[in-house]
């Protein structure tokens, strides 16, 4: 059995030897260094971009500006509002205005200083709720009030349902701008050979990059090749189009010489961010412990360009309701332009912000009503067969098991030893549960080649970014085909070689690509049986393929021998898996997702009342995993999510001054280190009898922030509603609480 084994990642040896071929290592013949010149203004007309002096710098080969671009040089997942570089206007500090291709970084940097940019400043706005006020500056004339998307969910009569409530709670929770901070930055190299374009991109979505480049440059997709080596982390930050169009446009001016762009850490902070969000929840409950209604209003700060937000904000709507039986639900999920860098997916996309809101409010309600927060949750959690606010019936949901397992593991453990502190240490416990949709409509294809020596090669456009997807796919292929794991190779992504896949994101690969691999395996087996039937002198329908052989009742033939005796050196087959779900755009009713992502967390914290310092004593993370492909990698996903989630919970916040990020480095923007991890961290994976393949890339992340906030209130009686939960905020809240 290849599935269920904790095999090491396929290229583990390369990983511990530092030999993974990340794109930062790529060297091509005659390759030039790319450098981006960025806006220093948050909002301005571009009066002049003069490159005359910069072009004189020895070693500078070409400079790209808005003047080089055609009318099609704009992109965006649904709203094509973002230029490859700015044309006549800039809308955030850091927006690309020009790009330089040079023989050396020194030359490029010298030239960058000599590009003469003249701005005519315009007024700017940085907060989403300010941007929708009348009189606020407009970023894009087509959207005068800066609202570029407004997703609505309308289920039941909320006004009537609020009238039936015994108590109504209304709270607003905020999440600040944050940055994905993969240690490998965004990297892209591009080369034109006549009308053929090759792009090496650190992206999670090679086929999306190919399609968008085809639209921008007006060439057929088959003229574009996108190659993606292993990534040094992505976390959503590489999930959509980033610097690929700019790199390709730059390379168009260098007479066939390739150009490579590697962003600096500071540039990462102006390339993509987590959506800052303000979420107001109005929730009606009855004294019997049930809900009557919930109204959710979310303002997502999309930044200066819509980017992937028109895809993410409708998902955020679905993900904002929570995993509880609530008869009447209205949601308004609103995307707003501001003069900030464009926002995109940040691991646990949109769910991190929404779970922060609804799971924090669960404890606010429970405490005020005198209910136990755990019992209150367990009494209301969805079970299979319940109807969700979209009207869809829920299948295969395991929220109760997830929460119970997390709570059980934490509560069964004995108290931890005292930890060093300045003042009095107070301990508390908290919980969080998450319900998340995945990509509603997407497709994965896989191709397999079986050689006459038994080697199985899997061609897939799933991106390996550390999550272990290639290893998991090899395990699924080995098991499905009944061949040894050691005989499986994985190739891709390379759009010239590997078949279509929508994206490696939203925890979809194990499920979607996994099922495509199963389909391809079934096709290979069918072909093997057809080829073996004459050899075994048995009708195909009486044969079966397993353990590397095709078997009749008495006789069998190994796969490799079937190929040889048919004079074949190899055989290839493909498989595909697709899903399509759709919601009514006016009411949000319909089917939102092919399946639900489910996770929970239970945490014990200690708060030092003298310093406000928070110590995470123990954390139990549980996720619904369907069928676990690789237990150790599953545990790494669960653990990694908790640790990643502690960043936005306790420390991550991009600071701004006039639209300029003032902490664009890992000294002033801390991310969790080994000193920040819980003293005890336990991961639980829930499996189901059905044995469906599920993704688990984000399940345990969104519950972290509310679980910690809930534990803090349990410990010291203060409620923090604005992330991150810093020691300063705790101390301030304690001070306010002690002053009557």
């Amino acid at each position: 059995m290849a599935i269920g084994r904790s095999v090491p990642m396929l290229d583990s040896v390369a990983r511990v030897k530092g030999e993974v071929d990340y794109l930062v290592n790529l060297r091509l013949l005659n390759m030039l260094v790319g450098k981006i010149v960025r806006s220093q203004s948050p909002h301005a007309k571009l009066l002049k971009v003069d490159t005359t002096s910069a072009l004189q710098v020895p070693g500078v080969v070409a400079i790209l500006t808005g003047a080089d671009l055609g009318a099609s040089a704009f992109y965006g997942a649904a709203i094509k509002d973002q230029g490859v570089v700015a044309v006549d206007r800039v809308r955030y500090v850091g927006e690309p205005i020009a790009a330089i291709a040079a023989e050396s970084l020194d030359a490029a940097e010298e030239a960058a200083l000599l590009i003469d940019v003249e701005y005519e400043e315009m007024s700017s706005v940085f907060d989403a709720r300010e941007a929708i006020q009348s009189g606020a500056p407009t970023l894009h004339e087509k959207y005068p009030n800066n609202v570029f998307i407004h997703s609505r969910l309308r289920h039941g009569d909320v006004e009537a349902a609020f009238a039936e409530a015994d108590e109504i709670f209304e709270d607003t929770f905020t999440s600040p701008l944050a940055q994905q901070s993969s240690l490998e930055p965004h990297v892209t190299a591009a080369r034109w050979d006549g009308e053929q374009l090759t792009v090496w991109a650190a992206t999670q979505a090679p086929y999306m990059v190919r399609r968008v480049l085809s639209e921008i440059f007006g060439i057929e997709q088959n003229k574009i090749r996108v190659i993606v080596p292993s990534l040094g982390g992505a976390y959503g930050g590489k999930g959509h189009i980033r610097i690929e169009p700019l790199a390709a446009a730059m390379a168009r001016k260098t007479n066939g010489r390739p150009v490579k762009f590697v962003l600096s850490r500071a540039e990462e902070f102006v390339t993509v961010t987590k959506h800052a969000a303000s979420i107001t929840l109005k929730t009606g409950v009855k004294r019997d412990g049930t809900f009557t209604a919930r109204q959710v209003t979310i303002y997502w700060n999309g930044g200066a360009y819509a980017d992937a937000s028109p895809l993410l904000i409708p998902q955020g709507m679905v993900r904002s309701v929570g995993p509880y039986r609530i008869p009447a639900v209205h949601v308004d999920s609103i995307g707003v332009y501001t003069n900030l860098p464009p926002a995109g997916a940040y691991r646990g996309a949109m769910s991190s912000q929404t779970t922060w809101a609804y799971e924090s409010q669960m404890d606010i309600i429970a405490r005020r009503m005198g209910w136990d927060p755990l019992e209150f949750r367990l009494g209301n959690l969805f079970v299979s067969g319940d109807q969700f606010a979209t009207g869809e019936t829920l299948h295969d949901v395991h929220f109760v098991e997830c929460l119970e397992e997390a709570a059980k593991a934490m509560n069964a453990s004995s108290p931890l030893a005292p930890i060093p502190k300045m003042g009095q240490g107070k301990r508390g416990r908290g919980y969080g549960v998450m319900m998340k949709s995945t990509v509603s409509t997407s497709k994965s294809q896989a191709r397999m080649k079986l050689d006459d020596d038994g080697t199985l090669t899997l061609f897939t456009s799933t991106v390996e970014m550390g999550q272990g997807a290639h290893t998991a796919m090899a395990q699924i292929a080995a098991e499905a085909l009944g061949t040894a794991f050691e005989m499986v190779r994985v190739v891709g992504p390379d759009t010239e070689i590997t078949p279509f896949d929508s994206t490696t994101s939203a925890s979809r690969s194990t499920n979607m690509m996994g099922n495509a691999v199963l389909a391809a395996s079934a096709a290979v087996k069918k072909k093997l049986i057809e080829l073996a039937a004459p050899l075994l002198e048995t009708p195909a329908e009486e044969l079966r393929a397993e353990n590397g052989k095709v078997l009749a009742n008495e006789a069998f033939i190994p796969y490799a021998e079937i190929l040889k005796r048919n004079g074949l050196n190899s055989l290839e087959e493909s498989g595909e898996y697709s899903t399509a779900s759709k919601l009514d755009p006016e009411t949000g009713q319909g089917i939102s997702t092919p399946h639900w992502h489910q996770g929970a967390g239970a945490v014990e914290v200690e708060v030092d009342t003298e310093t406000g310092k928070i110590t995470i004593l123990r954390y139990t993370a549980s996720s619904f995993a369907g069928r676990i492909v690789n237990p150790r990698m599953a545990q790494l996903q669960n653990d990694g999510n908790v640790i990643f989630g502690l960043g936005p919970t306790l420390m991550e916040e991009m600071m701004l001054d006039g639209g300029q990020v003032t902490n664009p480095n890992l000294a002033d923007y801390p991310i969790p280190s080994i000193r920040d991890i819980p003293v005890e961290l336990v991961s639980v994976c829930i499996e189901s009898e059905e044995g469906e393949l599920h993704g688990i890339g984000e399940m345990t992340l969104p519950p972290v922030a509310p679980a910690v906030a809930n534990a803090i209130e349990d410990a010291v009686g203060v409620r923090i509603k604005d992330l991150p939960i810093t020691a300063e905020k705790i101390l301030q809240a304690l001070k306010e609480k002690s002053q009557p």
């Binding site: 090491p8 511990v16 240690l183 490998e184 272990g468 150790r632 790494l636 653990d639 890992l666 080994i674």
Partner: protein, 154 residues
């Protein structure tokens, strides 16, 4: 200037470039990564006379005459250094961009303190960041390497 790396001596024109730039660009020792450029993430960690140092914070000039060890210097053939072996066995990485830095810092730790406590490990590795969050397994890998009790200095 002469740079002594992994037991070999290299003539380099370093100018005002940092050690990590010279290692990667001139010597093609690309196992060392630059993650943040300000000495916070540890992806560029190398050992200089046995002590971990952020390659982005020193000019190559400053380490002339000193013995520099990079990840490439740990295993010249197919075999792995015991610390690399422990990281592999414990699955102590995901994207692995940070792994060379962690491996080298661990070697320095175990040379200084062959049997570190959990707290000492956390303290010593605090300057190496893993955004994927593999810290639990890294902790296990350090303890497992420590338990093998072999001489770690190469």
């Amino acid at each position: 200037m002469i740079l002594s790396v992994n037991g070999s001596r290299y003539e380099v024109q370093a100018g005002t470039r940092t050690l990590v730039e010279v290692l990667r660009d001139d010597l093609n020792l690309v196992g060392t990564k630059e993650g943040c450029g300000v000495g916070m993430c540890g992806a560029c960690t190398v050992l200089v006379d046995g002590k971990p140092l952020s390659g982005c914070l020193v000019l190559a000039e400053q380490v002339a005459g000193k013995e520099i060890l990079t990840i490439e210097g740990l295993s010249q053939d197919e075999s792995l250094h015991p610390v690399q072996q422990a990281f592999l066995e414990q699955g102590a990485f995901q994207c692995a961009y940070c792994t060379p830095g962690f491996v080298l810092t661990t070697i320095a730790l175990l040379n200084e303190k062959p049997s570190p406590s959990d707290e000492e490990i956390r303290e010593y590795l605090a300057g190496n960041l893993c955004r994927c969050g593999s810290y639990q397994n890294i902790l296990q890998a350090v303890k497992s390497a420590s338990a093998t009790g072999v001489k770690h200095h190469t």
